[in-house]
């Protein structure tokens, strides 16, 4: 019974995403290649002094990304520090420095890792003008970078790669805002709350007093999901009934978080002038998604132990209104995109089941990944795959007519170096520095031993990959984690962006080599298979030892 429902749910999801693929992908291609500006955009460009016809070199584009993000971090930090004097703050005090830094970085980097419990920390002012704004713009930055790379494949002998301010503006105004408004209304209709009531004290049936929170949830929830942000209004995130009331809102959220990442391959195919290239990338992402989903669902349904047997599966940490299949689907979607919202607690999954969300993130957030970041991550892997394949067929490797030479490989290699280094170094340092280790063991880890390691590993995996979901069970609001995770999020976001934009520039500068039968086609199942292989092998080789020390060892005990 559960199995059939699970299948039906997945089929519904596939159907909706399939229907969305072409129109949404084409629409995004239109947004980012159109020569037409909306009136409101023209006004905005005048305001910030940008000509909508001006093109930027990659350093200029990058400066735009970094400057914009730096300002974002400072603003969010300042707003949190000033919470005590802001209206609608529900009487909460200013956020401490370390946590403010961590949270500011977290929301600007599209990670939305929360070292705090929002219900009792963040007032409405911070949530609305700080965090929700970043939900929009951080997502738009990701898409802008991906689009710059995609356009570079189509450009010939170009010294420029587009204009960041235009890409950013169009992404927000033409894509994220309108869809979020509609999505918020749908969520409202589904029962998500939207008010500024603060806390309401009620007396329950048993006579106890309970404090029921309110808040402008629906408006934040829509972009939290659609922009693959994931930072919850409440601590329980999308497991909270005010954020995610029912099974169908849960499925709706999954659709929202997968919509952009799964449609961007279409945008890619459209812009480079060969839709089949888009289908190849889509097929790669989708295959990884389905395999991962199947694995986690099987691990959870077959959960060992007396309690899971009695419940018909590992129900600990899952909401009964969702059940196992809807929980694993959400967990897969949220960790394979860089969303990080949760409707169940990954910490409570079976050892191997809990390893899956971690593995999903370790893939590098590429199947389908975050808004924008998923596509550029996958394209980087495609560059590596093309390189190996090119050598195997005896030609200087080329992808979409662009030669993959030393410079391109250098940038792609550095890209795949960044997150594993951050994850492994962060985890290792947590135990290598004696003072830090004492703090980590004493304060942060709730479940010592193998599971404790998994919690720390999960935290760094989530931060470095800009996912933001938590394994829970880890007290992360400590100086070490606030700082280390903050640094991991910053580097995990912006180092790859630097490399992607540099790669875009070197691709755009090239002419396009015409395809012949000697050229390896990158739009066939064979290439999809190779790309999946490269993705999985790179991940497996990098993380196998550390997984063996944590979840694998725990699961095989």
């Amino acid at each position: 019974m559960d199995g059939w429902l699970a299948l039906l749910q997945v089929l519904t999801l596939v159907l909706v995403l399939a229907v969305l693929y072409r129109p949404l992908g084409d629409y995004m291609a239109h947004i980012y290649t159109s020569r037409h500006d909306l009136a409101i955009e023209r006004g905005f460009y005048r305001l910030i002094g940008v000509s909508s016809r001006s093109e930027q070199t990659w350093p200029a584009y990058l400066r735009g990304v970094l400057a914009f993000s730096a300002v974002g971090v400072l603003l969010v930090y300042a707003i949190q520090r000033a919470q005590a004097v802001l209206p609608y703050s529900l009487g909460f005090p200013a956020i401490p420095e370390g946590l403010s830094f961590n949270t500011a970085v977290s929301f600007v980097t599209n990670t939305n890792w929360q070292s705090y419990s929002p219900d009792v920390t963040m007032g409405y002012a911070v949530q609305l003008i700080g965090l929700t704004v970043q939900n929009f713009v951080s997502s738009a930055v990701g898409i802008a970078v991906a689009v710059a790379l995609v356009r570079a494949f189509a450009l010939r002998k170009s010294g420029t790669i587009g204009n960041f301010w235009i890409d950013l503006t169009r992404g927000i105004l033409r894509l994220l805002l309108p869809v979020s408004v509609i999505a918020a209304i749908v969520l409202l209709a589904g029962g998500v709350i939207q008010n500024v009531n603060g806390f309401t004290d009620v007396t329950t049936l048993s006579g106890a007093t309970q404090s029921i929170p309110g808040g402008p949830v629906a408006s934040q929830e829509a972009i939290k999901i659609f922009g693959t942000n994931g930072g919850g209004f409440f601590n329980a995130n999308s497991a909270h009934p005010f954020e995610n009331p029912s099974a169908w809102t849960s499925l709706f959220q999954i659709v929202l978080m997968l919509a952009i990442p799964f449609s961007l391959p279409r945008t890619f195919g459209r812009v480079v002038g060969d839709n089949r290239q888009g289908y190849a990338i889509l097929a790669t992402m989708a295959t990884l998604f389905v395999v991962s989903l199947t694995a986690i669902t099987m691990f959870e349904l077959g959960g060992a132990g007396t309690a899971p047997q009695a419940a018909g599966g590992a129900m600990e940490g899952k909401e009964t209104r969702f059940g196992i299949a809807a929980s694993t689907l959400y967990a897969t979607a949220t960790t394979l995109t860089s969303t990080g919202a949760v409707n169940s607690m990954h910490d409570s999954y079976t050892a191997l089941g809990g390893m899956m969300p971690m593995l999903n993130m370790m893939l590098g957030e590429v199947a389908p990944g975050g808004t924008g970041s998923g596509l550029y991550g996958m394209l980087i892997l495609a560059v590596i795959a093309v390189f190996v394949a090119g050598l195997l067929v005896g030609r200087t490797p080329e992808y979409l007519g662009k030669k993959i030479g030393p410079r391109e490989i250098k940038l792609a290699s550095l890209y795949i170096l960044v997150t594993p280094t951050l994850v492994l170094a962060g985890t290792a340092l947590s135990f290598a520095i004696p003072a830090v280790r004492a703090d980590v063991e004493g304060t942060s880890i709730w479940n010592p031993g193998l599971h404790g390691l998994s919690e720390v590993l999960y935290a760094f995996t989530s931060a470095a990959n800009n996912n933001g979901s938590a394994f829970a069970g880890l007290t992360a609001n400590t100086p070490w984690f606030n700082t280390a995770l903050g640094v991991a999020m910053l580097l995990g976001r912006f180092l790859p962006i630097v490399l992607v934009l540099a790669l875009a520039s070197s691709l755009a500068a090239q002419d396009r080599v015409p395809a012949t039968v000697g050229t390896l086609p990158t739009n066939r199942p064979q290439f999809v298979g190779l790309l999946i292989g490269v993705t999985v092998i790179i991940t497996a080789l990098t993380y196998f030892p550390v997984l063996a020390l944590g979840p694998l060892a725990e699961g095989l005990q």
């Binding site: 005896g394 594993p420 092998i537 063996a548 944590g550």
Partner: protein, 733 residues
């Protein structure tokens, strides 16, 4: 043969064999075999290469060397520090650390061995080349007057060593002397023995002016006397470059090799991070692992197989070219050859045999019998030394013409003015028609009309035949006979056919399958060119081509993103050779052509371009195949080492020990041993190159992924298991 090269006949027969049956054993070259003697000879060189300053250039193997040194020190120190420390909660046998150290050193030595063996082949060739470079005494003109005394009969001469010659010097070389340096003959003609360079023992004729004026230093003048202007700087002669090339001294990394090195270095860094972070983490959740085990893990994970063989693959690739008597001026050119998408081929000599053959006699009127025509054509050609003339006599013989006795008369040779040739017989037994002419239609018609008017039906029939033969891609040759003042008649037409080389269409089909377009370049008219192009199966043609048009065509192709390869020998080919991405100059060509191209074919065989493309591709494929294999190997190594590393703490991980290896210590040592041995096993493949079939990219990829990808996953599972069975016999393991 004392020279390092194959003779041209050997080379061409080999290349043909390899075309027809690329996978057959016949195409396996002597590079395929790797004798123990070769390995032993290369061993000292391999040990010398252990110098860290040299190893540093290969980051992957440098890591292995550092690991080897580290474990050696640990292994020696251990007994004094209370025996080996436990690793991952398990006791380690006392010989473990030194065992690991020993095999790590072997791994490095094996890698160096591969390079040494590859270099060794080049060294032998270089040595025999060096002999030709030995200083000789030569005679330099103190002053040369090209106009007044071109033969330098009266010029003053000074004797000096060939090493002291400068660019622009003029020397006199007489029979028996070695030519002291590369140069152009400015006066004279001589037969030259070039076997030292080409391996071809038959002497060649070199003469001043024209396409055959270039001479190479180190070759010997066999007859006559020539005046040569030196065109090379000392130490930069053709032979010098050849020596540097075969020795690998000038080997620069090619773009693809650099890119691959970057990828390999990045993978190594990832694995370094993986290894370095294990202990802090294991110390918390399990138990720390000993340093030798960590080193072993690192060495197993970094791509040592390809790292060890990478430079050997490159050297061997160049070597394969040298064995085909092709000299590439840079590795970059070889790599570019693999990327070529457009091939420009001269019609004559490459696509067709250099000369046309008579294939048909057609009488023009019913008054002329076939036999009369055959006889007249044959008589007119008996004294014709050209291949065309000979082919007419041959064909006449096949048609029953028998010539007995001697022919009395005068031969009328072909000139560009008359555009015909023939005989004026003095033996009047030839029924009143002692004069016979053959030649271009208009010329022969004019000759007939000197005395006789040509009847309209014959004129019409002639026009039809000429048109027909041209359309077929042939050359019509009209035969007429008559007497000096008497009547003359047009007898008929000989069809001279351009014979397309056997098997050439298949080769072009092969090229097409490789994604390479072929363009035929010819001076013929478009009608003829089109027919030959269709018969040979080229994709396109350039008719009535001039050197300028050739250059324009190359530029146009390159603007479309194509990589162009071409061959050439003339000075007027030089701009096109320089413009082409791969320009193969014929050794018989001028020095200008040789300077302009980036490869020289010592056999002067234009079809060799196809082999060059194949070798370029093979070079890349070999690198790709071994990279894939190397990385795929890691999976099995993980399954050997990870469960072994933590077996003491997490017995549950034994579930991952799918190979059922004997003990943790033997599992780790076995992985290291396998990792070292696989390098030696793959040296022959690295030197020989992976088989290349001219099929579509998808098919090649599918096949190579299956062999080197899937094979690379499976092979080490079996290999490590076998090694483990042996290692488990060692006491303590």
């Amino acid at each position: 043969m004392s020279t390092p090269h194959l003779t041209s006949t050997q080379a061409s027969s080999e290349s043909e064999t390899s075309t027809r049956a690329p996978g057959s054993s016949a195409s396996k070259r002597r590079t395929a075999t790797l004798s123990t003697a070769q390995l032993l000879a290369a061993f000292p060189g391999a040990v010398r290469k252990l110098d860290p300053r040299q190893m540093w250039r290969n980051p992957v193997m440098f890591i292995v060397e550092v690991g080897a040194a580290l474990t050696t020190v640990l292994g020696i120190a251990e007994p004094f520090l209370g025996g080996p420390e436990t690793s991952g909660g398990t006791d380690v046998p006392p010989t473990f650390t030194l065992g690991i150290a020993f095999w790590l050193w072997l791994t490095v030595i094996f890698a160096n061995l591969a390079e040494s063996v590859a270099e060794g082949r080049g060294k032998a060739q270089a040595d025999s080349l060096r002999k030709t470079r030995s200083d000789t005494e030569t005679h330099r003109l103190t002053a040369y007057d090209p106009s007044g005394d071109p033969a330098a009969e009266n010029a003053a001469v000074e004797a000096l060593s060939s090493a002291d010659l400068r660019l622009g010097d003029v020397v006199v070389v007489v029979a028996g002397e070695l030519i002291p340096g590369d140069g152009d003959i400015v006066w004279g003609i001589a037969s030259v023995d070039e076997s030292a360079i080409t391996g071809e023992s038959a002497p060649v004729v070199r003469e001043s002016g024209g396409e055959r004026s270039a001479v190479t230093g180190g070759t010997r003048v066999l007859s006559d006397r020539i005046v040569v202007q030196i065109t090379s700087k000392p130490g930069e002669t053709f032979v010098d470059r050849m020596i540097a090339l075969v020795e690998g001294a000038t080997r620069q990394k090619t773009p693809n090799e650099m890119a691959l090195n970057i990828l390999l270095a990045s993978l190594s860094i990832v694995f370094l991070v993986v290894t370095l972070t294990i202990n802090p983490i294991a110390d918390y959740s399990a138990a720390a692992v000993s340093v030798p085990v960590l080193v072993a893990l690192l060495v197993c994970l970094i791509p040592t197989t390809i790292g060890a063989l990478l430079s050997a693959i490159g050297i061997a690739g160049m070597d394969r070219l040298v064995q085909r008597n092709v000299l590439a001026m840079s590795g970059r050119a070889v790599e570019a050859a693999g990327d070529v998408t457009t091939l420009l081929l001269d019609k004559t000599g490459t696509i067709t045999y250099g000369n046309r053959r008579a294939t048909e006699f057609t009488p023009l009127s019913s008054g002329v019998s076939q036999a009369d025509l055959v006889r007249a054509a044959a008589l007119a050609s008996l004294s014709d030394p050209t291949p065309e003339g000979k082919s007419i006599v041959d064909l006449a013989g096949e048609n029953g013409f028998v010539h007995t006795g001697t022919l009395a008369g005068d031969v009328v040779p072909f000139t560009a003015q008359t555009r015909m040739s023939g005989v004026d017989l003095t033996d009047i037994t030839t029924d009143g028609a002692p004069l016979i002419r053959k030649g271009a239609g208009s010329a022969v018609t004019a000759w007939v009309e000197e005395t006789t008017s040509v009847p309209d039906p014959v004129r019409a029939a002639l026009a039809t035949q000429v048109e027909r033969i041209s359309t077929l891609g042939g050359t019509p040759l009209v035969v007429a006979a008559g007497s000096a003042g008497g009547p003359r008649t047009i007898l008929g037409v000989i069809y001279l056919k351009d014979i397309v080389k056997e098997g050439i269409a298949e080769r072009f089909a092969e090229l097409r399958a490789m994604g390479i377009r072929t363009i035929m370049v010819t001076g013929d008219n478009p009608l003829t060119a089109k027919t030959i192009a269709a018969e040979a199966g080229v994709d396109d043609f350039l008719a009535e081509a001039t050197p300028e048009e050739k250059l324009t065509l190359i530029r146009k192709e390159q603007e479309g993103g194509n990589l162009v390869a071409m061959t050439g020998d003339g000075t007027n080919d030089a701009p096109a050779l320089a413009q082409a991405d791969v320009g193969v100059a014929m050794n018989t060509g001028t020095s200008a052509a040789k300077e302009a191209g980036n490869m020289v074919d010592l056999d002067s065989d234009p079809t060799k371009l196809i082999d060059i493309v194949r070798i370029g591709k093979q070079l890349l494929i070999t690198r790709g195949a071994l990279t894939t294999f190397s990385i795929a190997n890691d999976i099995a190594k993980y399954f050997a080492i990870i469960p072994a590393m933590f077996a003491g703490v997490f017995p549950g991980l034994a579930a991952l020990n799918v190979m059922q290896l004997h003990s943790p210590a033997s599992a780790i040592l076995s992985a290291i041993i396998f990792n070292a041995i696989i390098i030696v096993v793959l040296i022959p493949l690295a030197l020989r190159g992976v088989n290349y079939r001219p099929v579509s990219a998808s098919q090649i990829l599918g096949r190579n992924l299956l062999i080197y990808g899937l094979g690379g996953v499976i092979a080490p599972f079996m290999g490590i298991k076998i090694v483990d069975l042996v290692v488990s016999l060692i006491p303590g393991f």
